[in-house]
């Protein structure tokens, strides 16, 4: 099956995205179903390639030109692992959207969702730095539109902010790429990695700084993340779930791939550590002050990203393993939280503490799921968040960063404070009389149930993921392997 290539994970969503406007003539909801089916296809394809890539990385050549002359996809354990996560989360969110009845922009909405997921998949699969930039643009531009799609004040404001900051990010990335291209005459990631030492050190430092800042904005690193809480609050709930589960993860992938595989500059990994710590402190303290649950979740999401960033910054195998594990857990937990709060807020007519008073008594099922996910974020055993936090904690202890250990624990305590406050408001306050209870659509429940099963399941049996985490960590740490697989004759069959 030589034609069944991983490039279909980009090609098929693109085909469907162009087809969706025409599908509207067949059936009003055909676009939504097409989007969901395509994401299912991506998930299946991802899991089909997953075991193969862990045996041997695949190099997919595009347009028949060998790298570095053409573009190629570089599919290593880290990329396929992320691609599976992205496709799966995209698919679950798309199920939730099937019954979402925002009629007039439905077609465009499904197209944008599909392209966000496709762009993020492209970022993790590509082996060409300019191609990565193009996919980042696709992801960002669809994100801006999705943020503002509801056309209310908050959404538009967040969309504009997102657009401005995102443009700065793209400019910086493009400048960095241009500097590298000027020096080395190549855009292939493996080729750049191979010959990075040939660059003039001053130019190299500036290029890496630009790319670091650019990817820093995409991966919501403090102080470049001021736009993020607005986006999480203003965007429609499933879109916010998608952002925290999919697009941020793609940004983080780009950051890690770049810092560990392409350049070998320990100073930037250390910078990641510092910025990660700052992100945790600022975000968790800001989350504490919020009166709106959606915004609070946004800050909490940033806090978790900070945790991941500094775990990457510690740079040891154990810490990286923990960081990758937290990638998955954070995606699952935050998607659950945003999706449930979306349903609850719709029922209650708002997402402030005032609105949500006693909602837990009206909707015990949804609020229960929210509670489980909240406990997971705080790191309660035996939920999945506990496992990855423990892993990062152990790595910090091993690396003798005592301050970091204290920071992780303190952050968990703060998380406990603000999440328990929400839970108390939801469950302890008297049941509101103004809200009429409506049945929850089945399609919204299915993904939530799957997510909760994942939260508990991964927490109870983290062993399922251990071999994969090991493979991914080895892929990140071993840059010469990556270069050999993509440039040399070692590369896989395609």
């Amino acid at each position: 099956m030589s034609w069944f290539s991983p490039i279909l994970m980009v090609g098929v969503p693109l085909f469907v995205a162009f087809l969706i406007p025409l599908l509207g003539y067949i059936h009003k909801k055909a676009g939504l179903y097409a989007m969901s089916l395509t994401l299912l296809f991506n998930t299946v394809a991802g899991f089909y390639f997953l075991p193969k890539v862990f045996v041997k990385p695949i190099r997919v050549i595009v347009a028949g030109y060998k790298p570095p002359f053409g573009i190629n996809l570089a599919i290593t354990p880290f990329s396929i692992f992320m691609a599976c996560l992205i496709s799966l989360m995209g698919f679950l969110v798309s199920l939730y959207l099937l019954k979402d009845n925002t009629t007039e922009t439905q077609e465009k909405f499904s197209m944008l969702i599909l392209l966000v997921v496709m762009g993020s998949t492209g970022i993790v699969l590509t082996g060409d730095i300019f191609n990565m930039f193009v996919f980042l643009e696709i992801t960002s531009i669809s994100s801006y539109a999705l943020t503002a799609i509801k056309k209310d004040r908050k959404g538009s404001e967040a969309g504009i902010k997102f657009l401005l900051v995102g443009s700065i990010s793209s400019t910086l990335l493009l400048l960095g790429i241009a500097l590298i291209y000027n020096q080395l005459g190549t855009l292939n990631i493996a080729d750049i990695a191979n010959r990075f030492s040939q660059m003039n050190p001053k130019v190299a430092f500036l290029a890496v700084s630009f790319l670091f800042l650019g990817f820093g904005i995409e991966s919501e690193m403090f102080p470049l993340n001021a736009w993020a809480p607005d986006v999480y609050q203003g965007a429609p709930a499933p879109v916010a779930a998608l952002f925290s589960a999919v697009t941020v993860k793609a940004g983080l992938y780009a950051m890690v791939r770049f810092l560990f595989t392409v350049v070998n500059m320990p100073v930037f990994v250390k910078a990641l550590l510092v910025f990660g710590v700052l992100t945790v402190i600022v975000s968790e303290l800001s989350a504490l002050r919020q009166k709106d649950v959606r915004r609070m979740l946004g800050y909490s999401s940033l806090g978790q990203i900070g945790l991941i960033l500094f775990a990457i910054g510690i740079g040891t195998t154990g810490a990286l393993k923990g960081a990758i594990f937290h990638f998955i857990n954070h995606a699952i937990l935050k998607a659950t939280l945003f999706l449930t709060i979306g349903l609850l807020a719709k029922a209650a007519g708002g997402s402030t503490f005032e609105d949500l008073k006693g909602i837990g008594k009206k909707y015990p099922f949804l609020a229960g799921i929210f509670a489980i996910a909240a406990l997971g974020v705080m790191g309660f055993p035996p939920l999945n968040g506990f496992m990855s936090k423990l892993m990062i904690l152990t790595a910090a202890v091993k690396a003798e960063h005592i301050l970091l250990v204290m920071l992780i624990l303190a952050a968990s305590v703060i998380e406990g404070v603000y999440y328990f406050r929400v839970l108390q408001i939801m469950f302890k306050e008297p049941e509101p009389t103004r809200i009429e209870k409506k049945a929850i659509p089945l399609f919204s429940v299915i993904p939530l149930v799957i997510l909760v099963v994942a939260i508990v399941g991964i927490g109870l049996f983290p062993g399922v993921l251990t071999p994969y985490l090991k493979g991914v960590t080895m892929d990140i740490m071993n840059r010469s392997n990556y270069i050999a697989a993509m440039l040399g004759s070692v590369g896989g069959g395609l």
């Binding site: 030589s2 034609w3 290539s5 490039i7 279909l8 090609g11 693109l14 085909f15 995205a17 162009f18 087809l19 406007p21 025409l22 997919v60 050549i61 595009v62 347009a63 028949g64 030109y65 570095p68 002359f69 053409g70 573009i71 007039e104 922009t105 465009k108 909405f109 197209m111 944008l112 392209l115 492209g122 300019f130 191609n131 193009v134 996919f135 643009e137 696709i138 531009i141 669809s142 801006y144 539109a145 503002a148 056309k151 969309g159 400048l175 500097l179 291209y181 000027n182 020096q183 080395l184 005459g185 190549t186 855009l187 003039n200 001053k202 130019v203 500036l206 700084s209 630009f210 395609l494």
Partner: protein, 236 residues
């Protein structure tokens, strides 16, 4: 926090940001002299030397854009598609002003009508000859969109049928991806050039390059027209 405190905090932040930007600007200008801006090297050199052999296209820029890095171009076309879709999604349902304040004079109104087919023809020429002469799908598409902009500006109540735009942009995008998929099925590589290359300088040469560029031309033309139409007369 009172208002004054907030203001002061912002001022300190601004100064900090200012210095960070200044630092990077300084760094950038100190690095410019170190850049190598005269030599063609790396992949660029390969493209210049092997362009004719690989693609039989007289325009090396076209072979890079459509063939060597065609995957990027597919992405860029998608970016444009997204910009148009996103804008349409955000602006849909906005109040539009149908009437112009002052109608264009008769000369303009009669002048643009014969200009329309000529401009479209010129745009089509540019994208059909993308592999032979300077220009290509993006440029040609823009020229076509300009012709519709003339009509919208000059003629009162001129409206583009949204159905046509939708069909054109979808079919053009589908053509691009389908050509890519044919390459994958026939030669095992997405976007591979599966048609005979012909001889450099002929209209029917360079394999799939003209097909892709015509699709890009239609897509860019319809998308820009759609964008203009969406923004025409929106009350802010």
């Amino acid at each position: 926090m009172n208002k004054v405190g907030l203001k002061r905090r912002f001022r300190v932040k601004n100064i900090f940001v200012f210095f960070v930007v200044l630092y990077f600007a300084f760094q950038f200008f100190s690095v410019v002299s170190l850049l190598d801006l005269n030599n063609v090297k790396g992949v660029a050199k390969y493209y210049l030397e092997n362009d004719i052999k690989d693609t039989e296209s007289a325009n090396v820029v076209t072979s890079i854009v459509v063939n060597y890095r065609g995957f990027d171009t597919l992405g860029e076309v998608t970016v444009l598609f997204l910009a148009a879709t996103g804008l349409a999604a955000i602006l849909s349902g906005e109040r539009k002003v149908k009437k112009q304040k002052t109608p264009a004079n008769a000369m303009l109104q009669y002048g643009v009508k014969p200009l329309l087919p000529i401009t479209i023809l010129f745009g089509a020429y540019i994208f059909i000859h993308g592999h032979l002469s300077p220009g290509g799908g993006f440029q040609g598409g823009t020229v076509i969109a300009t012709s519709f902009l003339f009509m919208m500006l000059a003629i009162e109540g001129y409206e583009i049928k949204h159905g046509y735009i939708k069909w054109t942009e979808s079919l053009a995008g589908l053509t691009f991806v389908t050509v890519g998929l044919f390459g994958l099925f026939l030669l095992g590589s997405f976007l591979a050039n599966f048609l005979p290359l012909g001889k450099v300088g002929e209209l029917f040469s360079s394999g799939v390059i003209p097909i892709i560029y015509v699709a890009v031309g239609f897509k860019v033309g319809s998308e820009l027209t759609g964008l203009l139409d969406n923004m025409m007369g929106v009350v802010g």
